[in-house]
Amino acid sequence: MKLLLIEDEEAIAVSILNYLKSEGYICETVPNYIKASEKISVYEYDIVLVDLTLPDGSGLDLIRELKMEKKNTGIIIISAKNSLDEKILGLELGADDYITKPFHLAELNARIKSVIRRRKFEGNNETRFNEIFINHNDATVWVNNKQLKLTKKEYDLLIFFISNKNRVMTKEAIAEHLWQDNIDLSDSLYFVYTHIKNLRKKILEKGGNDYIKTVYSVGYKFVDL
C-alpha cells in the first residue's frame, strides 16, 4: 500500500509518517505543491493525503491534476480550515474524504482504511477479522456466522477498533470518532465505556473472543490474540 503525504508542516508530517509506517504502509512525504505535482505525475499511489494550504499553491489543484490523469488514487483532504464550502468543493472534485486539523491519528488511519476498502473491494466491501465478519455494504456484523444486532454507534465503534487494531486508542479519539464534538469531554468517558461494554457483551454472547483490552486511564486497545 503506497501513500503520499503532502504536508508543509514538518512536525505534523513526521508524526503522521511514523504512525502510518507502523501500520505497514509505504509512505512518502512532500512539503510543497511543485514536489507533490512531480511525484504524482511519476509514481502511482493508492492514497494521497493532501493539505489544502500549501506554501506555493492550493491542494485543490493537485486533486484536479490527479483526476485529469485519471489515476485510481484515493484522496483524503487534510485541512486546517474546517470550512464546509471547501469540503464540498474538494469532494466534488473527487476527493474521497475530508479531515480537519487537529485530528487523532487513529481517526486518520480509520479514514484511510475506509477509503482503501471502498476502492479495493468495489461492490464487495467486506472485512474479516478472525471469527468476526463485517459486511460494510449493508452494515451487518457476523460472529461465528451468527449475526450481531449492533446499534449504529456500536457498529462504528467496532469498525474503528478493527481499523486500528493492536493500537492504543484514547477515549478522546473514540469519543470524537463517534460523536464528533457533540459530546462534552467530561461525559465521554462514561459514554465510551458503556458502548464498549455493550459491544464486548454482544460479541461474547455469540461465542466471540474478548479482543477489547482496557489500557489503564488512557483508553482501549483492540488486540489480535
Binding site: E172, Q180, N182, L185, S186, Y216
Partner: protein, 427 residues
Amino acid sequence: MKLINKITLNFFLVSSLIILISGVAAYFFLRHEVDEKVDYKIYDEKREVIRRFAENYSEMTSDYKNLSIHLNIEKTTFTNRYWEEIKDTLIPAPRKHKHSRHKPPLQSYRQLRFNHTINGETYVITLRKLLVDSEDLIEALERMLIFVLSFLLVCLGIMNYLMSKKTWTAFSDIVNQVTNFNITKGKALELPHSDILEIKNLNKAINEMTEKVGRDYSALKEFSENASHELQTPISVIQSEIELMIQEDSLDGEKISHLQNINQATTKLARLNQALLLLTKIENGQFADFNSIQITELIDKNLNNFTDMAELRNISFDKNYHSSPVLKLHSHLADILIGNLLKNAVKYCSESGKINITVNESSFSISNPGAELKVPPEDLFNRFKKADQASKSLGLGLSIVKKICELYNLKIEYLYSDQNHTIKIYF
C-alpha cells in the same frame, strides 16, 4: 434642553435686558434733553422779563398773556437778597366748565421763581411752563423706541433660531450617524457635507476615528482568526505525538497517567480553539451564503447524534411539531445551532427527564427539566460563563448559539419555570 433652544432663550434674555436698560437710559436721556430745553426757554423768558421790567414794569402782566409761559408777579416786602428756584410742580388744570363736579386733573409744570428788585421795590416773579407737550413727546418716543426694539428683537430671535437650526441639522445628522454606527457591519459613515469649518473639522475627526477603529477592529479580527489557525498546527503535533507515545509498551502507569493528562488538556485546547475560530468566522461574516432549511428536518437529523446519549440516561424526547417553518440559514451554522441546543439540553437534563421540543410557525423552543441556574440568566449566553464554573465544559456552546441568532436577527430568550429550562428562538 436642546442647544438651539438654549441659545435662543439666552438671546432673548440678554436682548430683553439690553432693551430694558437702553429703554430706561433713553427715557432719562430724553427727559434730560427736554428739561434742558424747557429750562433754557424759561431762563430766556426770565431775561426777557427782566429786560421788560427795566423798560416798563407796569405793562408786564398784560403783555405776557399770549405766551406759552405763565407769568405771575407779586410785590413783596420781605427781602432784597436775590434768590431763585427752579422745580417741577403740579397745579390743577383750569376748569373748562365753571361748575363742573369733577376735580380737575393735576398738570405738570416747570416753574422758575425768583425775586427781582427794581427801583427799590422787590417783586417775586414766577414763570411757569406747562410740560404736557414734552411729556407726551417723551412718552411717544419711548413707546416707539420700545416697539422698534421689540420688533427687532423678535425678528432677530426668529432669524437666529432658523439659521441656527439649519446649521445644527448637519450636526444632528452627524450625531445620528455616529449613534447608529456599527463596527461589526463594516459600513463607513456617510457624513453630511458642510461648508462650516467646525462641522468640517468634526466630520474629519469622526471619519478619522471610525476609520482607525475599523482598522483596529479588522486587524483584531484577523489576528484572532490567524492566531486560532496558527494554533491548529502545534495542537495537531502535540496530539499526534501523544498518540504515538502511548503506543509504546514500555510505559508504566505513572507515565501513562501523565500522558493522559496532557492528552486531555490538548483535546480541550483543540476544542476551545475550534469554538473560538468558529465564533471569529461568524463575526468575520464568513458564512454569508444560505440554504432553505426546514427546521423540523434539521432537528430530526441532529437528534440522531444524541439518541444514544439520551438513552443511557433514560432521557426521552417529546417532539411537538405544529408547523414546519423554513428558514434561510447557512447549513453548517444551522447544524451547529440546533446541535448545540440539543447538546445543552441533554447535558443539563435531569436523569429520566423529558426534553420537550416545540416548533411553531414563528418559534422554536427546547426545554429540559433541571435544577435552577447558579449564574444569573443574562450571563448564560456570555462566553465562558458556565452553569457550574468547576465544570469541564468549554462554556462557549450557548454563546455560539447567540452569535448565530444575532447573525440572522433571530430573537433568543431563556426562561425558567416549573423546574424547566427553556430556550426559545423566534423567527
